[in-house]
């Protein structure tokens, strides 16, 4: 082997080792989390997901109680149902509000706005995706929460007074609705960018064909262009959903940080899984049995599993959508 060839080989091997980096990190991360979460799982079992009380127990007790071989403070109970509900509801509000706006915006950018205008507007919306989540939180606290408290909340409560979940005291403006709206603004750029990109790739011919058949421009977009890219768009929506499920700081700032409280209406304060891990680690460290930290690890594992599942689903749908587009392109 010449020196040159050896150098080439060495370079290839080095890159191969580096390529293993992300895999090693992910395996170690998952291993450490599962190991950390294990005692909490043994202690709490399935009631971890169905219980509504998160209580580290009596921190002044001298002797811990033992359940399933795991030590906990007397009275310790780790149920995360309110967090699961808070996470799910806030992310669903984000989807219900954000997705229609994102799809309409993408359609407007591709079909409505003149090219030169959308050339300028698109990067501005992309920028929205890069804004730090604490800045979203700041905006939520300063602008959105007061707006929900003094205007949107009372109005919704009045207009939808027969719908049970919408009627009720509006409270401080910090809660489920505000969290959902902040998350909506955060996922809009994700869904908009992918949808816009996909719509721009829809072949011109079927679209024009639809118009030649007498469909209105709206009908051509709705019944020809969107179905063409639907799996990719659904993928982008699920991707945004995953982002909303895992968002920590912005939600932490505007959720009202409810403890052990199931929301009674859309204005109720909530907590999410991600925001709870961030908010409670400090106090969990004071648990002399260490069980509270394990319980937080179990939340982290749950969150990781959920976001991984949504992400994989989303990626495969986006890939499917792209492949579909390419296949259609080749057939022509």
């Amino acid at each position: 082997m010449t020196r040159r060839r050896f150098g080439s080989k060495l370079f290839a091997v080095t890159t191969g080792i580096a390529a293993g980096g992300p895999l090693v990190v992910m395996l170690v991360l998952m291993g450490v989390l599962v190991r950390d979460a294990w005692p909490a799982w043994r202690f709490q079992g399935l009631s971890f997901f169905s219980g509504t009380v998160w209580n580290m127990g009596n921190m002044y007790a001298n002797t811990p109680i033992v359940r399933a071989g795991v030590q906990g403070a007397p009275g310790a109970s780790f149920g995360i149902l309110p967090l699961v509900v808070g996470t799910l509801y806030s992310s669903l509000i984000a989807l219900a509000v954000g997705v229609p706006i994102a799809l309409l915006t993408a359609a407007a950018l591709v079909y409505l706005a003149p090219k030169r205008v959308s050339m300028w507007l698109s990067p501005v919306i992309d920028l929205l995706a890069g804004i730090p989540s604490v800045v979203y939180g700041l905006w939520g606290v300063e602008v959105l929460a007061p707006f929900v408290q003094s205007r949107l909340g009372p109005w919704l409560s009045h207009v939808l007074r027969i719908a049970p979940f919408f009627h009720g005291p509006v409270g401080t403006g910090m809660g489920l609705l505000t969290s959902g709206l902040v998350l909506a603004v955060m996922i809009i750029p994700i869904v908009t960018a992918t949808t816009r990109e996909l719509l721009a790739q829809v072949p011109r011919l079927p679209y024009e064909g639809a118009q030649a058949l007498g469909l209105t421009s709206y009908e051509s977009v709705r019944y020809v262009a969107f179905p063409w890219v639907s799996s990719g768009v659904i993928g982008a929506v699920i991707l945004g959903w995953g982002r909303a499920l895992g968002e920590t700081m912005a939600v932490l700032m505007v959720s009202g940080n409810a403890a052990n409280y199931l929301p009674t209406n859309i204005y109720s304060p909530i907590s999410t899984m991600a925001s709870t891990v961030a908010a409670l680690l400090d106090s969990a460290l004071t648990d002399f049995t260490g069980l509270a930290v394990h319980a937080l690890a179990l939340i982290a594992v749950t969150l990781l599993a959920i976001t991984m599942a949504t992400n994989l689903l989303a990626r495969s749908l986006v890939a499917l959508g792209r492949r579909g587009l390419e296949a259609e392109g080749e057939r022509r």
Partner: protein, 276 residues
């Protein structure tokens, strides 16, 4: 006008309205941060350290640069090499698998990385709240973006480059060393810039790894907590003092301005990548 034409008009009006709402949100966020932030910004912000809930942000600014800098130093070499492997050397199924891993990694919620950093780096490895623990956590967060940017950039280079090299009997490694790296550079740099902007804006992975310090970073890697800008935005907004609020706004403005700058730079770089 018939009913269908009216419906079409109505739908497009809704689309225009949606676009207006989104633009309004962007402008409202930027205006809030720019307005209140500019009012709070003055020279002493950059030259004094935080004292209690007032003072300046010098410690947080330096801390942010140190943390993001370390994150980049750790993630870029591994990420770029991993991307090169995926694009040039890996057999197809292997490349696919590594792409899959990078995608999974990019989807890990940042607070999960924060928890991992705490239990692994801060406690198990005994780094304490420190530059090293925070920097590694950020590196984990940035790594998949750099891998993806590198791999997709090299894959999107014109096929002729690689085919030409093959025809001349040049190994892929030499082809990369002599030719391919140059057209790939802007794309890779774009990925690095985006990774920097993600790192700048993160809070959750740093809460329990970097800690917080009122003093400038002292270049100790371990055991010494270090400040950063996003912490100021989050914590000081909850304080009941207007001096604290001003600091939070100043920090938010600095962060947003930096992110904006990075995005503009990234857009500029993107244009200079040759297309297939």
């Amino acid at each position: 006008m018939n009913a269908r034409a009216i419906r079409s008009k109505a739908a497009w009006s809704m689309a225009a309205l949606a676009l207006a709402v989104v633009m309004f949100a962007v402008i409202d966020i930027l205006a809030l941060v720019a307005g209140k932030g500019a009012a709070a910004l003055n020279g002493s912000i950059f030259t004094t350290m935080t004292t209690g809930i007032a003072g300046g942000l010098q410690n947080a600014i330096y801390g942010t640069f140190a943390l993001v800098g370390l994150g980049i130093v750790l993630s870029v070499p591994i990420g770029v090499l991993a991307g090169v492997y995926g694009a040039l050397f890996a057999p197809d199924p292997v490349a696919k698998f590594f792409r899959f891993v990078a995608e999974v990694m990019a989807g890990v919620p940042s607070i999960v990385i924060g928890y991992f950093g705490y239990t692994m780096l801060v406690v198990a490895w005994g780094f304490g709240f420190s530059l090293l623990a925070g920097g590694i956590s950020l590196a984990i967060l940035m790594l998949p973006y750099i891998v993806r940017a590198t791999e997709s950039t090299i894959r999107q280079l014109p096929h002729g480059y690689m085919e030409g090299a093959r025809a001349l009997g040049i190994t892929p490694a030499d082809a990369f060393r002599t030719i391919l790296w140059k057209p790939a550079l802007p794309g890779v740099l774009t990925g690095v810039l985006l990774a920097i902007s993600i790192g700048l804006g993160e809070t959750a992975p740093l809460l329990y790894t970097a800690g917080w310090s009122n003093f400038d970073p002292n270049w100790q890697l371990t055991k010494n907590p270090i400040g950063y800008l996003t912490y100021v935005v989050w914590t000081y907004l909850n304080e009941p003092y207007s001096a604290a609020h001003r600091l939070a706004y100043a920090a938010a403005l600095l962060l947003t301005a930096l992110v904006l700058l990075l995005h503009v730079a990234a857009k500029g770089l993107q244009r200079s990548t040759p297309a297939q």
